[in-house]
Every structure is written in structure tokens, then in C-alpha cells.
Amino acid sequence: MNLPPANPHDCSDHHGEGPTVYDLPGIPLALREQWRQLETRRYFLGRMGKTLGWAGLASLLGPRLLAAGDGATSGPPSPESLRLPHFAPKAKRCINLFMSGAPSQMDMWDYKPGLAGLFDTDLPDTVRGSQALTGMTAGQTRFPIAPSYWKFARHGRAGTWVSELLPYTSRLVDDLTVIKSLHTDAINHEPAILLMNTGNMVPGKASMGAWLSYGLGSMNENLPAFVVLNSKFTPGANNQPLSPRLWGSGYLPSTYAGVTFRSQGDPVLYLSDPHGLTRETRRKLIDGVNAVNALTYQEVGDPETHARIEQYEMAYRMQVSVPALADMSDEPASTWELYGPDAREPGTFTYNCLMARRLAERGVRYTQIYKRGWDVHGDVVGILPRLCADTDRACYALVTDLKQRGLLDDTLVMWGGEFGRTVYSQGGLTHDNYGRDHHPRCFTGWMAGGGAKSGIVYGETDDYSYNIIRDPVHVRDYNATILHLLGLNHEALTFKFQGLDQKLTGVVPAKVISGLIA
């Protein structure tokens, strides 16, 4: 028995595939030793389990299948390896116009003419039922009905009622699927907005954009598959905070998380090279970093290392793609006529809508624009018109722009907030002003393009815009329908985590709403 000379740095599970981090020159012995011990208990146990499992299966499966299973060591699964989408999609990409704070459905879309005669009367108890209200209005002694301050008119071939607050969007109704019967489980912003975006009120789940980039992949490797744009505030509006967990990847590999583009200055920071650094030098630098990261990945096997490598590469490619994206001087005069003067000002909702069209043209899978401030608890008459003015023309321009360029056909645009608002006034009620509290039982949103059934109004609420009386659409069903339009079966788009096949629509049964699909 001739044993080789003992080597203190010999890693027992290293089968000589090539150099390891321990072979890099110039690393002090003590550091190498420390490195070697980085193998944690959890990692060791996890890998032992897998090794035994594979050994058992090896004889059953044969070499071909085993090779396929090896994908686990080469980074996160690609959509090609997931073999998605499940069926031919109607939409390739999505633009989500998220009205954070919850727009008031009965002041904008859900016309209730009967309320005018009920001004300052009490909301019947039978309508409210046993509902628990928020702490903001639960203590009110009265729940006086506040009819909408604004006039409504019929628009489009279907004669859809739209408020005068939306003079531009009302011209679009023949292209819209207006859903008046959305409903949610949460009555406060954070859980409700999480439910809309991640399918769960508890933080830590993957967002819809992350699911789409995981399931469908990128259409342009020079840009992220999932881009988030935040919009400038409307003066006087009550802006609820946003956090990256709304566009996070949750249990999915971080590669799929949304990338926020800044609304002012460079969309992505630190992309431009410092003076004197050439692109070639930058390339060499990244190659070097990637080589070290690749070795670490081989040793430790943490998929997050892979995500880091991907991010370096993406940043390098975005050095070219993002300046071209942000340079809007190539837009024809007609663009500026369509979007209006706000589009010239970086960071406005309008500017972001134009940016979203440019991202859609470039193959970004999911663009989400957040517009905050819709949480109008008081002074609805003062604030709501400002919010509508800041968004109405932009929504119209975006849908029209996509349509004229032939992109609306395979781009799904969605507009909506996280819940609705109450028909009763929060705080004082006068003929000229009122406030509205959170209302999860019904709210209005719309979809356009991407295989949604255009020119219809789906669902109906009661005379108080309080309860749904026909065709309810839970947030889960809404999300399942959106996935369906993108060619994904919400039951089959899963990721194993914590012993569950996690999915966007969660464990409570969800259904695709066929009435929303063209």
C-alpha cells in the first residue's frame, strides 16, 4: 500500500476536476486552511444526503438521466430546462402599472348613480355585515355615504361608464378589459400589496416578475428580464412606502429579482467606467473576478455565487445597452405629442411609461411602474384629481403607443392598486369633500392587449360598490389568469422550497378566469 504523501490541504471530496481555490498561488497557508473549513455543517449534511440518494439511484437510472440531473451544479435552471411556457402564449411580456395606495374605484370606474340620493345617510348594516374595519374608521360612530364628486359618462362601443377624472383613458375603453370585481384578503397596504405582487401576504415569496423571468427567461440578454420603475410623487399625496421585497425573487435564485432603474440621473448607478479605464480592461477585471467566483462556486456550490457572476456579466452588458435605452433623443416628435410635456421630465409616471414602451420594444419580460400616493383618506376632492392628472394621459399614451407599433398584441398591460376604497366617508363629509378608507371587498383594475378580452366590463358590485354581486375575481385568480395569458399553467409553475411546491397562486385553489381572455 503506497499512500501518497499526506497533504494537509487535500479536500476529501475533490476528485481532481481541475484547480481549486486552494491551488491559487500566493494565498497564505493559514487562509487556505480557514477556507477549507468553510464547508459548513448544513452544507455537508445536505450534500451527504444527496450523494447517498444519487448513489442509490445511479443503478436504476443509468448514465443519461444522471447527466441530466447534473444541471444542479451548473447554476439555476434555465427556462429551456424547465421547458416553458407550458403552451403557446398570447402575451410575451407584461407592463404592470401599479397604483400603490389603492385608487378609489367609485370615483374613477365603478359608477353608482343611486348614491347621489343617499348623501350623508348611513351605510346599511346589512351591506357591511360583520366586516372588521381598519383602526382608522372602526371607531367612527357613523358610516355616512359619500357619493362621488365627479360626473360619469359612457364611452366606447360598449358604453363603459368612466369618470371625468380620466378624460384620456376613457377614450381607450374599447381596448380595455375593465374588471370591477377584484377582491383581496388584506385590508392594510403592506399585506395587500404583497398579495398582489407575490401571491402571499407574508413577505419572502417570489414576485410575479421573478416567476416570469424564472419561467420564461429573458428575451434580451443585455437587459434584465424584470425591471422596476418608481415614479415621482404627486404633491400632497399620501405615499405609502415600497420595499424591494415586492419585486424580490424570494426562494427563487436572486438572478430573477427585479432590477430597479433610478428615476433620475443614470438609470443604473456606477455603470459608466471611470476615466482611463478602457472597456477591455473592464472585461479583464470581470473575467478575473468571475474566475475566482467560479472556483468558489465549484467548492461551495452555493447558487448565489452563480447569481453574483451573472450580475457582473449583466452589468457589463448594460454598460452599452442602458445608455442607449435612456437616450430618448431618437423618439420622433409624435411620441412627445402623444405623451405630453411630462414625458420630458425624468422620473415622472409619464416618463416611466415611455421608458416601459422602450423596454418592451427591447424585449424586457416584465416592467413594473409604481405610482404611489393613491391612499387618499381625506381631501379626496383635492388630491384625487392631481393623481389622475399625473397618470391619465400616460396610461392612454402607453396603450396607444404600443398599439400603433404593433406591440399591444403580445404585450399585456395591467393597471390597478392593492384594494379599493370605502363608499362611506372617513372623517368629515361635506358636499365638496370627503375621505375614503381601505376596502378589500371590491376594487377595479384593467388589462389591455396580450390576449385579454378587450372592450368589456367584467364583474359587478352592489349599489354601494361594497360587495361583489357577480363574477368575483380574487387576486389569486387574477394572477392565475395573467400567467395563463403568458402561456403558463399556474399549477405547474412551481419551485420546491421548504417542502412545498411553491407557486405564485399559493395553496388555496385559484382559477383562470376564462371570461377575461379573448
Binding site: 436504476l60 429551456e80 421547458r83 416553458l84 411556457p85 407550458h86 403552451f87 403557446a88 402564449p89 378624460p167 384620456y168 376613457s170 377614450r171 428575451m219 434580451n220 440578454e221 443585455n222 420622433p332 409624435s334 405629442e337 402623444l338 427591447r362 424585449g363 392612454y396 399614451a397 396607444t400 398599439k403 400603433q404 407599433r405 404593433g406 398584441d409 402561456g487 385553489p509 376564462s514
Partner: protein, 506 residues
Amino acid sequence: MAATAPTAAGHRARPGSVPFLWRLAVGGSAIGLVLAAARGVQLDGVAHGGSWRIFGRLHPVLVHFPIVLLLAVPVLELAGRWRPALREAAGFLLGCALPCAVVAVWAGLILARTDGHDGALLTTHLQGGAAVAIGTALTWWVRPWSRFVYALLLILTVGTLMWAAHNGGSLTHGADYLTEPLPPMLKQALHIKEAPAPETYGADTVFGAAVRPVLEKNCFSCHGPEKQKGDYRMDTFAALLAGGKSGVPAIVPGDILHSELLRRLSLDVTDEKVMPPKRKPRPTPAEVALLHWWIKQGASRTLQVSAVTNAPPEVLALLAGPVVAPAPEGEAPYQPRVGDYSALRDEIARLEKTLGIRLVQVSQHSGDGLLLRTRGAEARFGDAELAQLTRVAPFIVEAELDGTRITDAGLAALKPFSNLTRLHLEHTALTGTTLGVLKELPKLTYLNLCATRVTDDQLSALTSSAGLQQLYLFGSQVTSGGVSGLKARLPNTQIGPIELTKDPAP
């Protein structure tokens, strides 16, 4: 290991020399394993699936090992009277049979759980199998200790084995498989009952014309002649009313509140007890209404269809026509859009590599075709590159050629794209002189010529593209006059706006 100690050889030569405690431990744990399996594996008639299924499916193979081994033991014991060496072999085979029997029991239980088997015969078979395994353990244990008890146990175990094996055969082949070919006289002598002839019902009765077909469509696959999950069988009238192992009557004529069948039918689809179970097709609302109405009317077997006067309209509709299973919504049989291109995998990979393009599957069905994606390689994708795609062209259903360097001359290379439905040519230098080639694309429904230099004159080449549904010309040099001319000739084509109204303000 080359030098085996002589003592070891001597040790092996003595039969039954395994220490008592050791035998007790092994026998006891074998029994424990069997009992644990019988108690721990829940059989509820629901197919649970899972990766253990493969082990379960091996049960019909595995079960033959203990059978053969156990049958050989008495033969060897008898033959051992004349050739004592065979008696030693009997002990060895008995030892082999023990783990095999335990494994076979486990596999059987897993098979029953993962594939959702249930019923009286299965339970009997299962008890028999477990008894054999336990009997084998006891037999093996007492063999060196008492010849008499050993012989008794062996006979019992082998007898049980025969019975359990017969039940297993009945499960797979049907209960009358063995006796069916016997001459009728012998059958009578042996008191073997003929399988009951299927009951027939007049097509003019409500039950025969509507109720039974509804039950047949929705229920018989689990509660019919083949399977009786939960010991409930619905294909004979008496059993249909009686109910299953819960003891609750399935149908109480005239009493819709106490008819278990209706209760289970109307549970929420997420309820564990709902029937038909989750993921199985639901009866239509009309069918449910029919069952309600029929039971409320007294669940009559003889009520004539012609005698029915006042029933809900959906029930009358069902009674009027034969029960036709409606085609499941949205599940039209899959129609591949393109042929099989699996032989071109290498070619596709090569093209992706050399041209920097992507040829992505539209969906996981390869029959949905490929999507040509040039994003990222637009600047180096021109006429020559398009011409290289000839072999894969018939499998491409959508081509994203927008922003590429393709020119009028290169469009001729689109001819072999016989399955192309969507074509993006926006933001290219096309002037449209060769648009006539698009006539060769019979399936083209979407054409995007935005931001090209196409003019009115060239549009006339599209006049024979009758299948075209969407045409986009925004930012091209086409005028509104050109568009209206084209609209007249292509009435079914939706043509996008070529310019904005000057003032979009409402």
C-alpha cells in the same frame, strides 16, 4: 480475507447455531417491520403517487421471491429425511425468505397507497401477506428449538401463503379468473356462483335513461364492477341505495337531506370527502340537479320518462336526449402547428452559436414551432444570415427580424418559411420592393412594417394576402390614401394607425 479461519468454517457447518438472542432480535424486528407497515401506511383509496410508486410497482415481481423460497422449504425438509444436507438448505432458504417477505409486504402496501387501491379483497390479501411474513419469522425462529412447533407453523404459513397468493391473483386477474373455465356442472357442485349478469333497465324509465348513465359516466370507474372503493358499488340497484363501508345509506328515497350520495356530491371541491374526488371531472350542474330531483321523487327504479310532468327544465332537457358527455372546455385535441424537427437539434445549436440568434421553442410542445429571436445580434444579422436558416425555416412560426440589417433583396430567403404566422420587420431599411414574396407565406397573420421606408406603391403587393389579420405601418412612408386603398382590398385585415391625430387632447 484470503485466510479464512478454520474455526469459522466449523462454525458454519453446525446448523441452527445462530445464537438465540440474535434470532429473537432478527425475528422480532421482521415482525415489527410488518406491523409498522400495516399500521403506518394509510390506505384511503386515493392515488397518492410520488416517487415511491416505482417501489410499489415492483410488488408483483418481488412477491414471487418469498413464495418460491417458502414453497421450497417443506420439499427440502421432506427430502432431508433421505439426504440430511438438504435439511440444512431448508433452514438457509427459510432465512432468505424472511427479508423477502418483509420487503414484499412493504412494496404491496406502497403499491396500494400510491396507486389508490382499496376494497375488501385487497384488505384480505393484505392481511394474508402480513400473516405470511409474520409466520415466516416465527417459523424461522422456532426451527432450531422445537421440531413439532416448527412443522405446525410451517404448514400454517405455507397454507396462508397459498390463500394470500390466490387473493393476489384474483386482484390482478379478476375473482373468477380461475373458476371461469370450469364446466357448469362442476361449478354447481362446488357452489361457485356465476358472476351476476349486469342489471338492465328499460330505456323508457327515468333510471335507465338518465340516472344510471349519469352514474356510469361519473362514478362507475371507482364504484363499479371493476373497483369498489370504500366498499361501495353503484352498478346494482340495491347496492347503489345501500352505501359503502361508512354504513350511512347512500340514497334514502324521497329524503335529500339524509342521502349521503347527495351530501358528498355537494361538498366544496376542496373538501377531502367530496365526490367525485379532487382532480376528477365534476358532474355538470344539470346532472346534479337530475340526481337531486330523482331522489326527491322517491328514487324510483320504474318511473317512466313519459310520466314525468313537472321537473326542473335542466332535468327535462337531460331526460329528452341521451346523456352526451360535453367536450371538456378549452381542451381541444392538440394540433401541432409544425412538423417534427428533432433531427435538426444539432443544426439549431450550430445556427444559434454562429449567428448569435436564438431559436426558442414557442412552448414545451415542440409542435408549436420555433421563434426566431435576433435580439442582441441585430447588427450582424442580414440577408446572408437569413439565407442560412433554410433548413429550419419550415419550423419557425414567428420571426423577430426587427432592427436587423435585412434588405429588400434578402426577403426572398423568407420563401421556405411555410409556417410563419408572425413577422416583425419594423425598424429595418426595407423599402418594400420585394414584399411580393410574402404571398408565399400562406399562414402569415401578423406583419409589422413600422419605421420602414415602405411606400403606398409597394403595399399593393400585399393585396393577395387574404389571411393577414394585422398590419402595422406606423412610421413608414405609407399615406392615409394608401391605407384606405388597401383596406378596400383587404377587408379582414386590421391596419394600425399610420399617424397620430395631431392633438390627442380630449
